[in-house]
């Protein structure tokens, strides 16, 4: 404000008047909540590494869950790719019901889609092999391109817990 006072005395007076009457009664709109977790009183909410780092750390402490060239500048099919990724995520979490312990990572290379995830060892290997084939077959039919599942299994749900808040 000081530089304004020096420049134009009249403008400075107006600014002063403005600062007296500028009380905002509206709700603050800059609240950011998505991807952030509240601390519980008992400190027993389990967070994975992915959940423990809020979205603004993407590219610093954690990386993206979808890897493709559609998000580059002037690239083709950005919206279709995003919608397909959402569909793949929903389909995999539903097919591997209560077994997926992490985010589903979708990597696209040329026309191949590679899906990686952490799976709990709660079902027999035989069922797991069936589900892998089932998921790959159906997704490749819908996406019209080869789909590969690259899973890693964990013995217990608590293996993926990074910290408790």
């Amino acid at each position: 404000m000081n530089f304004l006072k020096k420049l134009v005395p009249q403008a400075a007076a107006e600014v002063q008047q403005l600062s007296r009457s500028s009380i905002h009664t509206s709700v603050v709109c800059c609240r950011v909540q998505s991807g952030r977790y509240r601390i519980t009183t008992k400190r027993n909410r389990a967070l994975t590494y992915e959940m423990a780092n809020p979205p603004h750390f993407i590219g610093h402490r954690k990386s993206w869950n979808s890897w493709n060239t559609s998000t580059l500048k002037d690239a083709l099919r950005p919206s279709q790719t995003a919608i397909e990724d959402v569909f793949i995520r929903k389909f995999v979490t539903g097919t591997w019901h209560a077994l997926v312990c992490s985010e589903i990572i979708i990597k696209r290379q040329h026309n191949t889609i590679r899906i990686a995830a952490l799976i709990r060892q709660a079902i027999t290997p035989r069922k797991m092999y069936f589900l892998i084939g089932y998921t790959e077959e159906l997704l490749s039919y819908w996406m019209q391109c080869p789909v590969t599942l690259e899973l890693q299994t964990v013995g217990d749900k608590k293996d993926v817990v990074f910290k408790y808040i």
Partner: protein, 325 residues
């Protein structure tokens, strides 16, 4: 039973005392049975389970330890990891860690680490793997043509440079509309012109010619295919070149005001200079014409403008021509 005993006791009065004591003993023992008999029986319509059955233990197959524990030190890594794949901790015998933690704490290990699975790895492109692949494709390679070793050599044989772009993208389609663009560039000094055709060619190509680098660049993207655009670019180049050698009848009407550059040959200054040189010359004698250096200095003076150097040079030339020392 106690009623029967009482009756027995009444029949045998002599042994009353002994019997009494015996009865007490009996009655003490049999009391629960007596009460059972007298109580109402409960009608149970549902069979209530007396004991909770113990939950059956889920039998799990024993989980095999990670493969890395059984790997030989001198194994063939290209066979373990032949192609691009997400990271798997049980197959990579490296003590990797990734992730940000509080200061002093160790980073999360490779097991159940989603961050390691996210990042692209180059475990399939180790130096031995690349060497193997190069060996495999060596038989499809041909030797470099002789006589084209250096850039200067091959630029003499191939003056035209064609630039196209292919796009690798993670999409179900391999087509990219940007791939149709073709850029053809060449040095204008590689083409042969006379003064008229060069002037006309430059007028035809317009701003596709870069004066500083002497490079002509033609970009074509109006056809849908790369091949068509390439053909079109070469057609444009050929057509412009041949058209520049054609002199149309209306080109003769170009007057002095239309000239973009001062030419000594076409101008009054040449006639004046010849007039001065041939002053008082006899009829039939060979005409003297001004020297080439004089012509150059006049052209320079008018085309580049008057500056100290040009004026000085013009002065020298005039002195030389008129033999003024």
């Amino acid at each position: 039973m106690s009623a029967g005993l009482t009756r027995l006791w009444e029949r045998l009065p002599l042994k009353k005392h002994a019997a009494q004591s015996r009865i007490r003993v009996f009655s003490n023992q049999d009391q629960p049975e007596i009460e059972d008999d007298e109580e109402f029986r409960v009608l149970s319509l549902r069979t209530v389970k007396q004991q909770f059955q113990r939950r059956q233990q889920v039998r799990r197959d024993p989980i095999t330890p990670p493969r890395t524990t059984r790997m030989a030190v001198d194994q063939d890594w290209t066979a373990v990891w032949p192609g691009p794949r997400s990271f798997h901790p049980a197959s990579v015998p490296l003590p990797l860690r990734q992730g940000f933690t509080e200061r002093g704490a160790a980073a999360p290990s490779k097991f159940a680490n989603a961050e390691l699975m996210k990042i692209p790895n180059f475990l399939h492109l180790t130096p031995p793997a690349i060497r193997q692949q190069c060996e495999a494709i060596k038989r499809f390679c041909t030797p470099w043509p002789k006589g084209l070793e250096t850039e200067a050599k091959w630029q003499r044989h191939f003056p035209i440079e064609v630039t196209t772009t292919d796009y690798c993208q993670s999409l179900p389609t391999i087509r990219n509309p940007e791939a149709r663009k073709v850029t053809v560039s060449l040095k204008l000094s590689d083409l042969r012109f006379d003064s008229h055709s060069r002037d006309k060619f430059l007028r035809l190509v317009g701003d596709r010619y870069n004066k500083e680098t002497d490079i002509l660049t033609i970009v074509t993207d109006r056809c849908p295919q790369k091949k068509q655009n390439y053909d079109y670019a070469l057609y444009l180049l050929t057509a412009c070149y041949h058209e520049s050698f054609v002199t149309e009848p209306w080109e003769e009407t170009k007057s002095e005001a239309d000239m973009e550059e001062y030419l000594f040959e076409r101008n009054q200054s040449k006639i004046s200079a010849e007039g001065i040189l041939n002053w008082n010359a006899k009829e039939g004698a060979p005409k003297e014409s001004p020297s080439k250096s004089y012509a150059n200095s006049v052209e320079q003076l008018i085309n580049e403008g008057e500056n100290e150097y040009n004026l000085g040079k013009y002065k020298e030339e005039v002195k030389k021509m008129l033999n003024i020392v």
